[in-house]
């Protein structure tokens, strides 16, 4: 389940945020602290996650302390389902 979650988010980031459909993103690769995703895109990512997985992410959680990698984000989603 987590693997599917990860690959769905990976695909979203590659196509919608980075505009590089072929770009692979490592499960542990830093997303926020590296600057790969900025604050405007982070908002989009949170909305995508809410709509796709039916979980809530509060605005106070939109920072690298809550999640910084695909693995951490997937774990957050699983914990809220």
């Amino acid at each position: 389940m987590t693997d599917t979650t990860i690959s769905m988010i990976e695909q979203y980031i590659a196509t919608q945020v980075l505009k590089q459909p072929n770009r692979r993103i490592g499960a542990e690769e830093p997303l926020l602290s590296s600057g790969l995703i900025d604050s405007f895109n982070l908002m989009d990512l949170a909305l995508f996650v809410e709509d796709t997985f039916g979980v809530r992410i509060e605005d106070t959680e939109l920072n690298a302390n809550t999640f910084d990698s695909l693995t951490q984000l997937a774990a957050l989603i699983e914990s809220r389902k």
């Binding site: 770009r23 590296s34 600057g35 900025d38 908002m43 909305l47 106070t60 690298a64």
Partner: protein
């Protein structure tokens, strides 16, 4: 004619207990500052500057985030007669090394006598200092204690004259930080008077703002205008707003906000990202004007914003436009409050090819241009060609302005100041046209990229790519690409490498993305790494940004 300290003192004597600023914080109660509290806090900062031996007329750089400290420090510098300049704070996105470089760039040209910051940032600031530079004092703000009353007699700012410089405004990046727009008391008041008149500012107004104070729109419209006009300001942090844009609408509803300013992208951002659950019961009927300013204005963005929030009492005619620049303190034009800005439908081909705005011929493709309004009463605008000759109505050229609120000059840069004036007219670097008294802004002469209202010099981004292994100096190009979805520009970087290998190019693209973002705090939308001889150069060997943009677009199709 008066000065900022005199005006503040006058407001204080008339209504000491009136609220000047409501400071909002995420997860905490709003802090309230009355004029009396503001003056007592600020005068303690002024006394500190005096004790540290800072003289009136010297520059004080403020490295402070959203909070009481930045409000006190800014007004404290002014009450002391010193010249405040607010520098953006280091964010987690930007590398500390780059921040140090930027700060050094600012210090080298602006030559501040003091820097005010937090205790835990003092060490960081000191690393940017060099022996022999202008900074005599790094002042840590937590030791400054608010006074029990304001001792006006001792404040040196009351000796200031209207034509003295009162503050500096910088735009971002290494280039922007070396170009401080110096403004006099007189220029600020001439602006506030004429701009305030065009908005019909009244005592019942409440201004709500999330805009950063190191930017002209935030500093003038979202800080000086309310405080010096005696109307309350509700101020939130830009970092909180970007994570929770609905908070702006909640604050407007709670405080009955009547005026707010937004760059064009924020209309799209709010319309697309705000969830119903966050604005239940929010009422926007108190808004007299939501003013679109500081990047190209789009009718489509207004429509999207209106459609999203009309059920919350938002009136279509409250959506307004303005054309503004730090060199004129702020506003140059303002659309007429109470009616929808003028929108012209023009012929796309004539606009592109002949540089004329005219009605579309039958069946020809057209485009909608939204007016930025009419010149303020103290501003004259003309449209000129390359040689400075005036152009007729509806012909596109460079916008040139004259007013009684222009900058005194770029601080310590008389060479730059001289370059932007021609026969007493300030050349804005923006293209546009005039039609029936309305000003339409259509593009830029300079290669400047504007993302979310923030000006970015492409050469700063290009220089950063040269630091990435595999990219050679002079072999990259940066430009902006307007996105209809975002309502602002996306940043594109193209860089040449020796290798034609796809995987190697991808590796360099990733490295550029990370390095440029870390060192500019600008997220890149498209990073394209290409083989040798892709980039178009001019005959003199310079990179032709417009030609490369065209080539990039043609390859996308």
């Amino acid at each position: 004619m008066t000065t900022l300290p005199e005006q503040l003192k006058e407001l204080h004597s008339r209504m000491p207990e009136r609220v000047a600023v409501y400071l909002q914080f995420s997860g905490a109660e709003d802090a309230v500052l009355t004029y009396d509290q503001l003056l007592r806090g600020a005068s303690a900062y002024a006394q500190t500057l005096s004790r540290e031996g800072i003289r009136p007329g010297e520059v004080v750089v403020l490295i402070l985030q959203h909070g009481k400290e930045v409000v006190y420090a800014f007004w404290g510098a002014i009450l002391h007669g010193a010249i405040p300049s607010i520098m953006p704070f280091l964010t987690e996105k930007l590398s500390p090394e780059r921040y140090r470089t930027d700060l050094s760039a600012l210090i080298s040209v602006t030559r501040p006598a003091a820097i005010m910051t937090y205790p835990n940032f003092e060490a960081e600031v000191r690393t940017a200092l060099q022996t022999g530079d202008s900074v005599r004092s790094v002042i840590v703000v937590d030791r400054i204690v608010t006074q029990s009353e304001t001792d006006f007699e001792s404040l040196k700012g009351f000796q200031q004259r209207p034509k003295d410089i009162v503050l500096l405004q910088h735009s971002s990046g290494t280039t922007g930080l070396q170009k401080g727009v110096a403004l006099s008391h007189q220029a600020v008041f001439n602006q506030l008077n004429s701009y305030g008149k065009s908005l019909a500012i009244r005592e019942e107004d409440v201004i709500v703002s999330w805009l950063p104070l190191y930017h002209d729109m935030g500093l003038i419209a979202g800080f000086l205008l309310p405080i010096l006009s005696g109307i309350p300001l509700v101020l939130m942090s830009p970092f909180d707003w970007v994570r929770a844009p609905y908070k702006l609408l909640q604050s407007i509803s709670v405080y009955r906000g009547s005026l707010t300013w937004l760059p064009n992208f924020a209309y799209n951002f709010c319309a697309q990202k705000i969830r119903d659950r966050h604005i239940e019961g929010v009422d926007l009927a108190s808004l007299r004007a939501v003013i679109n300013c500081s990047e190209p204005v789009r009718w489509e963005s207004h429509v999207a914003f209106y459609e999203r929030f009309k059920d919350h009492g938002l009136k279509l005619e409250s959506l307004q436009t303005s054309y503004a620049m730090a060199e004129n303190v702020f506003g140059v034009t303002q659309s007429r409050l109470g009616s929808v800005p003028v929108v012209e439908e023009i012929d796309r081909e004539a606009f592109m090819g002949q540089r004329v705005a005219k009605s579309p011929m039958d069946g020809h493709p057209s485009m909608k241009m939204m007016s930025s309004g009419q010149p303020l009463e103290n501003v004259m605008i003309k449209v000129v060609d390359e040689d400075g000759n005036s152009l007729p109505e509806s012909v596109i050229g460079e916008l040139a302005i004259q007013s009684d609120c222009m900058l005194t000059g770029y601080f310590n840069r008389p060479d730059l100041t001289e370059r932007v004036f021609k026969d007493g007219w300030y050349l804005t670097g923006d293209y546009g046209y005039l039609s029936k008294g309305e000003v339409f802004v259509s593009g830029r002469k300079k290669d400047m990229i504007i993302v979310g209202g923030k000006n970015i010099y492409p050469q700063d981004l290009e220089s950063l790519t040269y630091e990435v292994p595999g990219v050679r100096a002079g072999r990259s190009v940066a430009f902006g690409l307007f996105s209809d979805i975002q309502g602002t520009e996306d940043v594109v970087i193209i860089a040449e490498v020796d290798s034609e290998d796809g995987e190697e190019q991808q590796r360099v693209a990733d490295a550029i993305r990370v390095h440029v973002t870390k060192n500019s705090a600008i997220a890149l939308r498209h990073v394209k790494v290409v083989g040798p001889k892709w980039i178009v150069k001019t005959s003199s060997g310079k990179t032709a940004r417009a030609a490369n943009k065209e080539k990039f677009l043609s390859e996308l199709q």
